[in-house]
Symmetry: C2
Protein backbone atom coordinates (compact mmCIF):
# COMPACT_ATOMS: atom_id res chain seq x y z
CA UNK A 1 0.00 0.00 0.00
CA UNK A 2 1.32 3.42 -0.87
CA UNK A 3 1.01 6.53 1.23
CA UNK A 4 -1.56 9.26 1.47
CA UNK A 5 -0.91 12.95 0.87
CA UNK A 6 -2.79 15.84 2.43
CA UNK A 7 -2.50 19.07 0.49
CA UNK A 8 -3.81 22.47 1.59
CA UNK A 9 -5.69 24.51 -1.04
CA UNK A 10 -4.42 28.02 -0.58
CA UNK A 11 -5.44 31.39 -1.99
CA UNK A 12 -9.19 31.02 -1.67
CA UNK A 13 -10.95 34.38 -1.39
CA UNK A 14 -13.32 35.23 1.47
CA UNK A 15 -16.45 33.27 0.51
CA UNK A 16 -19.68 35.22 0.01
CA UNK A 17 -23.32 34.07 -0.14
CA UNK A 18 -24.00 32.73 -3.62
CA UNK A 19 -20.40 31.81 -4.36
CA UNK A 20 -19.85 28.48 -6.15
CA UNK A 21 -17.34 26.67 -3.95
CA UNK A 22 -16.61 24.08 -6.63
CA UNK A 23 -15.50 26.86 -8.97
CA UNK A 24 -13.30 28.48 -6.33
CA UNK A 25 -11.58 25.15 -5.68
CA UNK A 26 -11.27 24.05 -9.31
CA UNK A 27 -9.51 27.33 -10.17
CA UNK A 28 -6.83 26.71 -7.54
CA UNK A 29 -5.95 23.02 -7.52
CA UNK A 30 -5.40 20.36 -10.13
CA UNK A 31 -7.54 17.44 -8.99
CA UNK A 32 -6.88 13.80 -9.79
CA UNK A 33 -9.37 10.96 -10.01
CA UNK A 34 -10.08 9.59 -6.52
CA UNK A 35 -8.98 12.69 -4.62
CA UNK A 36 -11.10 13.51 -1.60
CA UNK A 37 -11.72 17.24 -1.22
CA UNK A 38 -12.43 18.28 2.36
CA UNK A 39 -14.27 21.60 2.74
CA UNK A 40 -14.87 23.21 6.12
CA UNK A 41 -18.49 23.83 7.00
CA UNK A 42 -17.88 27.52 7.57
CA UNK A 43 -17.35 28.39 3.92
CA UNK A 44 -20.18 26.08 2.85
CA UNK A 45 -22.52 27.87 5.25
CA UNK A 46 -21.35 31.25 3.94
CA UNK A 47 -21.82 30.23 0.30
CA UNK A 48 -25.29 28.92 1.12
CA UNK A 49 -26.20 32.11 2.98
CA UNK A 50 -26.60 30.32 6.32
CA UNK A 51 -25.73 33.52 8.19
CA UNK A 52 -27.87 35.33 10.72
CA UNK A 53 -27.33 38.64 12.52
CA UNK A 54 -26.15 38.15 16.10
CA UNK A 55 -24.86 40.89 18.34
CA UNK A 56 -21.75 39.86 20.28
CA UNK A 57 -23.20 41.73 23.28
CA UNK A 58 -26.48 39.82 23.44
CA UNK A 59 -26.01 36.44 25.15
CA UNK A 60 -29.79 35.96 25.42
CA UNK A 61 -30.16 36.22 21.63
CA UNK A 62 -27.29 33.78 21.19
CA UNK A 63 -28.96 31.27 23.49
CA UNK A 64 -32.27 31.69 21.68
CA UNK A 65 -30.55 31.02 18.38
CA UNK A 66 -28.82 27.91 19.74
CA UNK A 67 -32.12 26.58 21.03
CA UNK A 68 -33.82 27.28 17.70
CA UNK A 69 -31.08 25.24 15.99
CA UNK A 70 -31.45 22.36 18.50
CA UNK A 71 -33.80 19.43 18.52
CA UNK A 72 -32.92 18.65 22.12
CA UNK A 73 -30.53 20.01 24.73
CA UNK A 74 -28.39 17.33 26.42
CA UNK A 75 -26.26 19.39 28.80
CA UNK A 76 -25.68 23.00 29.82
CA UNK A 77 -22.81 24.57 31.70
CA UNK A 78 -22.38 28.32 31.77
CA UNK A 79 -22.30 29.60 28.20
CA UNK A 80 -21.92 26.09 26.81
CA UNK A 81 -24.86 24.13 25.46
CA UNK A 82 -24.45 20.55 24.23
CA UNK A 83 -27.41 19.74 22.05
CA UNK A 84 -28.65 17.59 19.24
CA UNK A 85 -29.14 19.37 15.94
CA UNK A 86 -31.97 18.59 13.49
CA UNK A 87 -29.38 16.53 11.55
CA UNK A 88 -28.86 14.31 14.61
CA UNK A 89 -25.38 15.66 15.42
CA UNK A 90 -24.54 16.15 19.06
CA UNK A 91 -22.22 19.14 19.41
CA UNK A 92 -21.59 22.37 21.24
CA UNK A 93 -23.94 25.29 20.66
CA UNK A 94 -25.80 23.48 17.85
CA UNK A 95 -23.02 24.48 15.48
CA UNK A 96 -23.79 28.20 15.86
CA UNK A 97 -20.42 29.82 15.39
CA UNK A 98 -19.14 33.39 15.29
CA UNK A 99 -15.42 32.77 14.65
CA UNK A 100 -14.22 33.49 11.13
CA UNK A 101 -17.54 35.26 10.45
CA UNK A 102 -18.17 39.01 10.01
CA UNK A 103 -18.67 40.76 13.38
CA UNK A 104 -22.39 40.93 14.22
CA UNK A 105 -23.15 37.69 12.36
CA UNK A 106 -23.20 33.99 13.18
CA UNK A 107 -22.89 31.01 10.83
CA UNK A 108 -25.31 28.09 11.13
CA UNK A 109 -24.73 24.52 9.94
CA UNK A 110 -25.87 23.81 6.37
CA UNK A 111 -29.46 22.55 6.28
CA UNK A 112 -28.38 19.30 4.60
CA UNK A 113 -24.58 18.91 4.62
CA UNK A 114 -24.70 15.69 2.56
CA UNK A 115 -26.53 17.63 -0.13
CA UNK A 116 -23.97 20.44 0.18
CA UNK A 117 -21.21 17.87 -0.38
CA UNK A 118 -23.01 16.40 -3.40
CA UNK A 119 -23.45 19.86 -4.90
CA UNK A 120 -19.74 20.62 -4.56
CA UNK A 121 -18.80 17.17 -5.88
CA UNK A 122 -21.11 17.57 -8.91
CA UNK A 123 -19.69 21.04 -9.54
CA UNK A 124 -16.12 19.77 -9.40
CA UNK A 125 -16.98 16.90 -11.72
CA UNK A 126 -18.69 19.22 -14.20
CA UNK A 127 -15.87 21.72 -14.04
CA UNK A 128 -12.89 19.33 -14.18
CA UNK A 129 -14.28 16.09 -15.65
CA UNK A 130 -12.68 14.32 -12.69
CA UNK A 131 -14.45 11.99 -10.27
CA UNK A 132 -13.64 13.03 -6.71
CA UNK A 133 -15.11 12.58 -3.24
CA UNK A 134 -16.16 15.56 -1.13
CA UNK A 135 -16.45 15.86 2.63
CA UNK A 136 -17.92 18.83 4.47
CA UNK A 137 -16.18 18.98 7.85
CA UNK A 138 -16.84 20.70 11.13
CA UNK A 139 -14.96 20.95 14.41
CA UNK A 140 -16.58 19.11 17.32
CA UNK A 141 -15.59 18.41 20.90
CA UNK A 142 -15.90 14.97 22.42
CA UNK A 143 -16.91 13.75 25.86
CA UNK A 144 -14.13 12.39 28.08
CA UNK A 145 -11.28 13.79 25.97
CA UNK A 146 -9.98 17.35 25.87
CA UNK A 147 -9.51 18.97 22.51
CA UNK A 148 -11.49 19.36 19.33
CA UNK A 149 -11.25 17.27 16.19
CA UNK A 150 -12.70 17.77 12.74
CA UNK A 151 -15.38 15.30 11.71
CA UNK A 152 -17.51 14.88 8.61
CA UNK A 153 -20.95 16.46 8.67
CA UNK A 154 -21.62 15.61 5.02
CA UNK A 155 -20.07 13.53 2.27
CA UNK A 156 -20.47 12.58 -1.38
CA UNK A 157 -18.58 10.04 -3.44
CA UNK A 158 -16.60 8.75 -0.45
CA UNK A 159 -17.66 6.28 2.22
CA UNK A 160 -18.74 7.70 5.58
CA UNK A 161 -18.12 4.31 7.21
CA UNK A 162 -16.24 1.27 5.92
CA UNK A 163 -17.52 -1.97 7.37
CA UNK A 164 -14.70 -4.40 8.09
CA UNK A 165 -16.91 -6.86 10.00
CA UNK A 166 -16.21 -10.32 8.75
CA UNK A 167 -12.91 -9.25 7.18
CA UNK A 168 -10.24 -11.55 8.56
CA UNK A 169 -7.54 -10.03 10.72
CA UNK A 170 -3.84 -10.43 9.90
CA UNK A 171 -3.95 -13.96 11.39
CA UNK A 172 -7.04 -14.95 9.38
CA UNK A 173 -9.57 -14.77 12.22
CA UNK A 174 -12.67 -12.56 11.94
CA UNK A 175 -12.09 -9.06 13.29
CA UNK A 176 -14.05 -7.92 16.34
CA UNK A 177 -13.82 -4.31 15.22
CA UNK A 178 -15.55 -3.50 12.59
CA UNK A 179 -16.94 -0.24 11.29
CA UNK A 180 -14.30 2.37 10.61
CA UNK A 181 -15.40 6.01 10.45
CA UNK A 182 -13.42 6.78 7.32
CA UNK A 183 -15.00 10.17 6.56
CA UNK A 184 -14.30 11.39 10.08
CA UNK A 185 -10.68 10.23 9.82
CA UNK A 186 -10.32 12.01 6.48
CA UNK A 187 -11.83 15.20 7.92
CA UNK A 188 -9.45 15.04 10.89
CA UNK A 189 -6.47 14.40 8.63
CA UNK A 190 -7.38 17.37 6.42
CA UNK A 191 -7.47 19.62 9.45
CA UNK A 192 -3.77 18.85 10.00
CA UNK A 193 -2.94 21.17 7.08
CA UNK A 194 -5.70 23.68 7.65
CA UNK A 195 -5.00 25.09 11.07
CA UNK A 196 -7.88 26.88 12.66
CA UNK A 197 -6.34 30.30 12.21
CA UNK A 198 -4.51 29.80 8.93
CA UNK A 199 -7.36 30.68 6.61
CA UNK A 200 -7.10 27.41 4.70
CA UNK A 201 -10.66 26.09 4.51
CA UNK A 202 -10.06 23.36 1.90
CA UNK A 203 -7.63 20.45 1.65
CA UNK A 204 -7.19 17.56 -0.75
CA UNK A 205 -6.53 14.02 0.48
CA UNK A 206 -4.79 12.03 -2.24
CA UNK A 207 -4.22 8.26 -2.30
CA UNK A 208 -7.39 7.02 -0.62
CA UNK A 209 -8.16 3.32 -1.28
CA UNK A 210 -10.37 2.86 -4.34
CA UNK A 211 -12.84 0.78 -2.30
CA UNK A 212 -13.75 3.80 -0.19
CA UNK A 213 -14.96 5.80 -3.19
CA UNK A 214 -18.69 5.17 -3.32
CA UNK A 215 -21.95 7.00 -2.74
CA UNK A 216 -22.58 7.57 0.93
CA UNK A 217 -24.17 9.88 3.47
CA UNK A 218 -23.10 11.04 6.90
CA UNK A 219 -26.68 11.35 8.01
CA UNK A 220 -27.57 7.78 7.00
CA UNK A 221 -24.33 6.05 8.00
CA UNK A 222 -22.79 7.99 10.88
CA UNK A 223 -25.62 9.43 12.98
CA UNK A 224 -26.29 6.71 15.55
CA UNK A 225 -29.99 5.91 15.94
CA UNK A 226 -31.33 6.86 19.39
CA UNK A 227 -32.31 3.28 20.19
CA UNK A 228 -28.71 2.11 19.69
CA UNK A 229 -27.10 5.00 21.53
CA UNK A 230 -25.98 4.43 25.11
CA UNK A 231 -25.28 8.12 25.72
CA UNK A 232 -28.25 10.01 24.28
CA UNK B 1 2.04 25.72 4.18
CA UNK B 2 3.13 22.52 2.51
CA UNK B 3 1.35 19.20 2.66
CA UNK B 4 1.56 16.25 4.98
CA UNK B 5 2.42 12.70 3.92
CA UNK B 6 1.27 9.52 5.65
CA UNK B 7 3.47 6.52 4.92
CA UNK B 8 2.78 2.93 5.99
CA UNK B 9 5.70 1.00 7.48
CA UNK B 10 5.45 -2.44 5.92
CA UNK B 11 7.24 -5.72 6.51
CA UNK B 12 7.18 -5.72 10.30
CA UNK B 13 7.34 -9.22 11.75
CA UNK B 14 4.76 -10.53 14.22
CA UNK B 15 5.77 -8.76 17.44
CA UNK B 16 6.71 -10.94 20.44
CA UNK B 17 7.06 -10.10 24.15
CA UNK B 18 10.45 -8.49 24.69
CA UNK B 19 10.82 -7.19 21.13
CA UNK B 20 12.25 -3.67 20.78
CA UNK B 21 9.71 -1.88 18.63
CA UNK B 22 12.08 1.00 17.93
CA UNK B 23 14.57 -1.44 16.41
CA UNK B 24 11.91 -3.10 14.26
CA UNK B 25 10.84 0.29 12.93
CA UNK B 26 14.32 1.75 12.46
CA UNK B 27 15.32 -1.24 10.34
CA UNK B 28 12.46 -0.65 7.93
CA UNK B 29 12.05 3.07 7.42
CA UNK B 30 14.34 6.00 6.93
CA UNK B 31 13.14 8.60 9.40
CA UNK B 32 13.54 12.34 9.02
CA UNK B 33 13.72 14.96 11.72
CA UNK B 34 10.20 15.91 12.83
CA UNK B 35 8.49 12.76 11.57
CA UNK B 36 5.73 11.49 13.82
CA UNK B 37 5.73 7.70 14.12
CA UNK B 38 2.32 6.26 14.98
CA UNK B 39 2.39 2.78 16.52
CA UNK B 40 -0.79 0.81 17.21
CA UNK B 41 -1.32 -0.21 20.81
CA UNK B 42 -1.62 -3.88 19.91
CA UNK B 43 2.05 -4.33 19.04
CA UNK B 44 3.13 -2.19 21.98
CA UNK B 45 1.10 -4.39 24.32
CA UNK B 46 2.61 -7.51 22.75
CA UNK B 47 6.16 -6.21 23.05
CA UNK B 48 5.51 -5.28 26.67
CA UNK B 49 4.00 -8.69 27.42
CA UNK B 50 0.57 -7.26 28.22
CA UNK B 51 -1.08 -10.53 27.18
CA UNK B 52 -3.27 -12.74 29.32
CA UNK B 53 -4.81 -16.15 28.61
CA UNK B 54 -8.49 -15.90 27.74
CA UNK B 55 -10.58 -18.73 26.35
CA UNK B 56 -12.84 -17.60 23.50
CA UNK B 57 -15.55 -19.84 24.99
CA UNK B 58 -15.62 -18.27 28.43
CA UNK B 59 -17.64 -15.03 28.41
CA UNK B 60 -17.64 -14.90 32.22
CA UNK B 61 -13.83 -14.84 32.30
CA UNK B 62 -13.84 -12.14 29.65
CA UNK B 63 -16.22 -10.02 31.71
CA UNK B 64 -14.12 -10.54 34.82
CA UNK B 65 -11.02 -9.42 32.93
CA UNK B 66 -12.78 -6.32 31.60
CA UNK B 67 -13.92 -5.41 35.10
CA UNK B 68 -10.42 -5.94 36.48
CA UNK B 69 -9.12 -3.52 33.83
CA UNK B 70 -11.82 -0.94 34.64
CA UNK B 71 -11.91 1.78 37.24
CA UNK B 72 -15.63 2.29 36.70
CA UNK B 73 -18.29 0.91 34.39
CA UNK B 74 -20.37 3.58 32.61
CA UNK B 75 -22.74 1.49 30.48
CA UNK B 76 -23.47 -2.14 29.64
CA UNK B 77 -25.43 -3.61 26.79
CA UNK B 78 -25.23 -7.31 26.01
CA UNK B 79 -21.57 -8.20 25.56
CA UNK B 80 -20.53 -4.58 25.40
CA UNK B 81 -19.12 -2.78 28.42
CA UNK B 82 -18.24 0.93 28.26
CA UNK B 83 -15.91 1.68 31.12
CA UNK B 84 -13.21 3.96 32.35
CA UNK B 85 -9.73 2.48 32.44
CA UNK B 86 -7.13 3.23 35.14
CA UNK B 87 -5.59 5.67 32.61
CA UNK B 88 -8.88 7.63 32.54
CA UNK B 89 -9.83 6.53 29.02
CA UNK B 90 -13.47 5.77 28.38
CA UNK B 91 -13.75 2.98 25.85
CA UNK B 92 -15.34 -0.35 25.03
CA UNK B 93 -14.32 -3.39 27.07
CA UNK B 94 -11.54 -1.51 28.88
CA UNK B 95 -9.32 -2.03 25.85
CA UNK B 96 -9.30 -5.82 26.31
CA UNK B 97 -8.97 -7.09 22.75
CA UNK B 98 -8.66 -10.52 21.15
CA UNK B 99 -8.39 -9.53 17.48
CA UNK B 100 -4.92 -9.80 15.96
CA UNK B 101 -3.81 -11.76 19.05
CA UNK B 102 -3.01 -15.49 19.31
CA UNK B 103 -6.16 -17.58 19.89
CA UNK B 104 -6.66 -18.17 23.61
CA UNK B 105 -5.05 -14.84 24.53
CA UNK B 106 -6.19 -11.25 24.99
CA UNK B 107 -4.16 -8.06 24.79
CA UNK B 108 -4.51 -5.40 27.47
CA UNK B 109 -3.69 -1.70 27.16
CA UNK B 110 -0.12 -0.76 28.11
CA UNK B 111 0.16 0.18 31.77
CA UNK B 112 1.45 3.67 30.88
CA UNK B 113 1.10 4.39 27.16
CA UNK B 114 2.87 7.76 27.42
CA UNK B 115 5.88 5.93 28.87
CA UNK B 116 5.60 3.33 26.09
CA UNK B 117 5.71 6.16 23.55
CA UNK B 118 8.72 7.75 25.26
CA UNK B 119 10.55 4.45 25.25
CA UNK B 120 9.97 3.98 21.52
CA UNK B 121 10.91 7.60 20.83
CA UNK B 122 14.14 7.29 22.86
CA UNK B 123 14.94 4.02 21.08
CA UNK B 124 14.43 5.59 17.66
CA UNK B 125 16.55 8.57 18.63
CA UNK B 126 19.35 6.35 19.93
CA UNK B 127 19.19 4.11 16.90
CA UNK B 128 18.86 6.75 14.17
CA UNK B 129 20.15 9.97 15.74
CA UNK B 130 16.94 11.60 14.52
CA UNK B 131 14.48 13.52 16.67
CA UNK B 132 10.98 12.23 16.02
CA UNK B 133 7.62 12.21 17.77
CA UNK B 134 5.86 8.98 18.68
CA UNK B 135 2.16 8.31 19.21
CA UNK B 136 0.72 5.05 20.54
CA UNK B 137 -2.76 4.72 19.02
CA UNK B 138 -5.82 2.66 19.75
CA UNK B 139 -9.21 2.25 18.10
CA UNK B 140 -12.12 3.68 20.09
CA UNK B 141 -15.82 4.11 19.44
CA UNK B 142 -17.61 7.36 20.18
CA UNK B 143 -21.06 8.16 21.55
CA UNK B 144 -23.59 9.55 19.06
CA UNK B 145 -21.61 8.60 15.94
CA UNK B 146 -21.31 5.20 14.33
CA UNK B 147 -17.85 3.95 13.47
CA UNK B 148 -14.51 3.68 15.18
CA UNK B 149 -11.59 6.07 14.90
CA UNK B 150 -8.02 5.77 16.04
CA UNK B 151 -6.98 8.09 18.84
CA UNK B 152 -3.78 8.61 20.79
CA UNK B 153 -3.43 6.75 24.07
CA UNK B 154 0.17 7.86 24.54
CA UNK B 155 2.60 10.33 23.00
CA UNK B 156 6.17 11.57 23.22
CA UNK B 157 7.84 14.44 21.43
CA UNK B 158 4.62 15.62 19.82
CA UNK B 159 1.82 17.72 21.29
CA UNK B 160 -1.29 15.91 22.46
CA UNK B 161 -3.24 19.16 22.29
CA UNK B 162 -2.38 22.47 20.61
CA UNK B 163 -3.98 25.44 22.26
CA UNK B 164 -5.14 28.03 19.75
CA UNK B 165 -7.05 30.07 22.30
CA UNK B 166 -6.23 33.70 21.85
CA UNK B 167 -4.80 33.12 18.39
CA UNK B 168 -6.60 35.48 16.05
CA UNK B 169 -8.81 33.98 13.36
CA UNK B 170 -8.33 34.81 9.66
CA UNK B 171 -10.11 38.13 10.21
CA UNK B 172 -7.97 39.02 13.23
CA UNK B 173 -10.58 38.39 15.93
CA UNK B 174 -9.86 35.96 18.77
CA UNK B 175 -10.93 32.40 17.96
CA UNK B 176 -13.70 30.81 20.00
CA UNK B 177 -12.27 27.34 19.36
CA UNK B 178 -9.47 26.63 20.84
CA UNK B 179 -7.79 23.40 21.81
CA UNK B 180 -7.10 21.10 18.90
CA UNK B 181 -6.54 17.41 19.65
CA UNK B 182 -3.52 17.12 17.40
CA UNK B 183 -2.34 13.69 18.58
CA UNK B 184 -5.79 12.21 18.02
CA UNK B 185 -5.94 13.70 14.52
CA UNK B 186 -2.48 12.27 13.76
CA UNK B 187 -3.52 8.84 15.06
CA UNK B 188 -6.67 8.93 12.93
CA UNK B 189 -4.71 10.04 9.87
CA UNK B 190 -2.18 7.22 10.34
CA UNK B 191 -5.00 4.69 10.43
CA UNK B 192 -5.90 5.73 6.87
CA UNK B 193 -2.87 3.76 5.63
CA UNK B 194 -2.98 0.98 8.19
CA UNK B 195 -6.33 -0.66 7.60
CA UNK B 196 -7.56 -2.85 10.39
CA UNK B 197 -6.91 -6.07 8.50
CA UNK B 198 -3.85 -5.07 6.53
CA UNK B 199 -1.24 -5.99 9.12
CA UNK B 200 0.37 -2.54 9.02
CA UNK B 201 0.72 -1.51 12.67
CA UNK B 202 3.04 1.49 12.14
CA UNK B 203 2.83 4.60 9.98
CA UNK B 204 4.92 7.73 9.64
CA UNK B 205 3.34 11.19 9.39
CA UNK B 206 5.74 13.58 7.67
CA UNK B 207 5.41 17.35 7.43
CA UNK B 208 3.88 18.14 10.82
CA UNK B 209 4.29 21.81 11.89
CA UNK B 210 7.46 22.38 13.90
CA UNK B 211 5.45 24.02 16.68
CA UNK B 212 3.70 20.73 17.47
CA UNK B 213 6.96 18.95 18.26
CA UNK B 214 7.33 19.26 22.01
CA UNK B 215 7.19 17.10 25.13
CA UNK B 216 3.64 16.15 25.97
CA UNK B 217 1.44 13.48 27.51
CA UNK B 218 -1.96 12.10 26.58
CA UNK B 219 -2.76 11.38 30.18
CA UNK B 220 -1.99 14.93 31.31
CA UNK B 221 -3.39 16.83 28.33
CA UNK B 222 -6.21 14.77 26.83
CA UNK B 223 -7.94 12.91 29.66
CA UNK B 224 -10.66 15.29 30.76
CA UNK B 225 -10.83 15.74 34.54
CA UNK B 226 -14.08 14.38 36.01
CA UNK B 227 -15.10 17.76 37.36
CA UNK B 228 -14.97 19.28 33.86
CA UNK B 229 -16.70 16.38 32.13
CA UNK B 230 -20.39 16.71 31.34
CA UNK B 231 -20.73 13.05 30.34
CA UNK B 232 -18.89 11.04 32.98
Amino acid sequence: MTGIEILPVTGLPEVQPGDMIADLIAERVSLRRGDVVVVTQKIVSKAEGRLVPLSPDDPAARLELIEAESRRVLRRRGDLVISETPHGFVCANAGVDVSNVEPGWAALLPVDPDRSARRIRDGLQARTGTTVGVIVSDTFGRPWRIGLTDVAVGCAGVAAVVDLRGTPDAAGRPLEVTEVAVADALAGAADLVMGKAAGVPVAVVRGVPEAWLRESSVRDEVVRPHAEDLFR
